[in-house]
Amino acid sequence: MITAGIDCGAKNVKVVILNDGKVASKATAPAGIDTASAAEKAYDDALKAAGCGREAVVKIIATGSGKNEPRFKNDIVTEVGADARGIHFTSPNVRTVIDVGAEEGRAIKVDENGKVVDFAVNEKCAAGAGAFTEAMARALEIPLEEFGPFSLTSTQEVPMNAQCAVFAESEVVSLVHRKIPKQDIARAIHNAIADRITSMVRMVGITPEVALIGGVANNVGFVVSLKEDLELDLMIPEDREYIGAIGAACIAAGSQ
């Protein structure tokens, strides 16, 4: 049986094709301003990679903030439900999932069956999501992909007071004016966002094993800060950006 999971994130659309309990293919496309078209493109790419046509897919479930956009979906599931199911599929020992995406941060407690026990979400505020690091990288004029590694070269701690991405941008500019080394500012930025995510994880409780997923899991600077804050090791699955899509595809298979 072939099913598909479409995770329409704020920044990227991720598609997973699942064939008889195995991931057959994955594809991604930038969401842009037209999520529906982006989903269409990523879906076609994934089908091509899996070597099957649209008619072979029995059910398509969408998730993510733009889950209502894809025209070809059969159903939708919540991001929390998709993450929980997805992590159970890839890493069944995980009990706490931390998902930090471009515009949302989530902490989810899951049981041994991949069911959601508890969750906390930060949404609609850039301070608790990837958009924060992105805006700060721009303010410091450092390419996003270099931002994390760069922050690890910091040698001293500097305080960051702003809790809003817009105010933090002004704060960053004034720190630069005061000749504070950029790597130290970068470190402070990663610590600030890790601090907010940690509080959210504390709200659901920290039960090992703890997995970190979502696009921001690619940022090594954030990962280091979060590990320090949580005082434990984090499991980062290889498919960290596809967990939601995998979960949606699994739910599609399970409901058939």
């Binding site: 505020c125 608790g128 809003c164 907010r196 509080s199 959210m200």
Partner: protein, 97 residues
């Protein structure tokens, strides 16, 4: 006077309200709060006032959603059970969320 400390942002309303007419400046809330969010300050809203009042510390007022999270398990809680609210005998403390 009702002093509202906290903020409203895209994710919601997060305010701790101290009724300064009820607050007696005992400071029990400041010791009860496990996150060290509260402090006693001079009553700057009434230049004739003689007793201090409880207030949310400046460094926490912009992040109380996060500072207060450990006291607010995700699976629901009662505001009356919060350590600061419980510790306040005159009933001057309220949480909006």
């Amino acid at each position: 006077m009702k002093a509202n400390y906290g903020y409203k942002d895209g994710s919601g309303d997060f305010f701790i309200t101290v009724d300064t007419d009820l607050c007696n400046g005992c400071g029990d809330c400041t010791t009860a709060c496990p996150a060290g969010v509260l402090e006693l300050v001079e009553n700057g809203y009434d230049i004739d006032a003689e007793t201090p009042i409880a207030a949310v510390m400046k460094e926490h007022s912009k992040k109380i959603k996060y500072s207060c999270m450990p006291c607010k398990p995700a699976a629901g809680y009662a505001i009356a059970d919060l350590p600061c609210v419980k510790a306040c005998s005159p009933g001057a403390m309220e949480h909006s969320w």
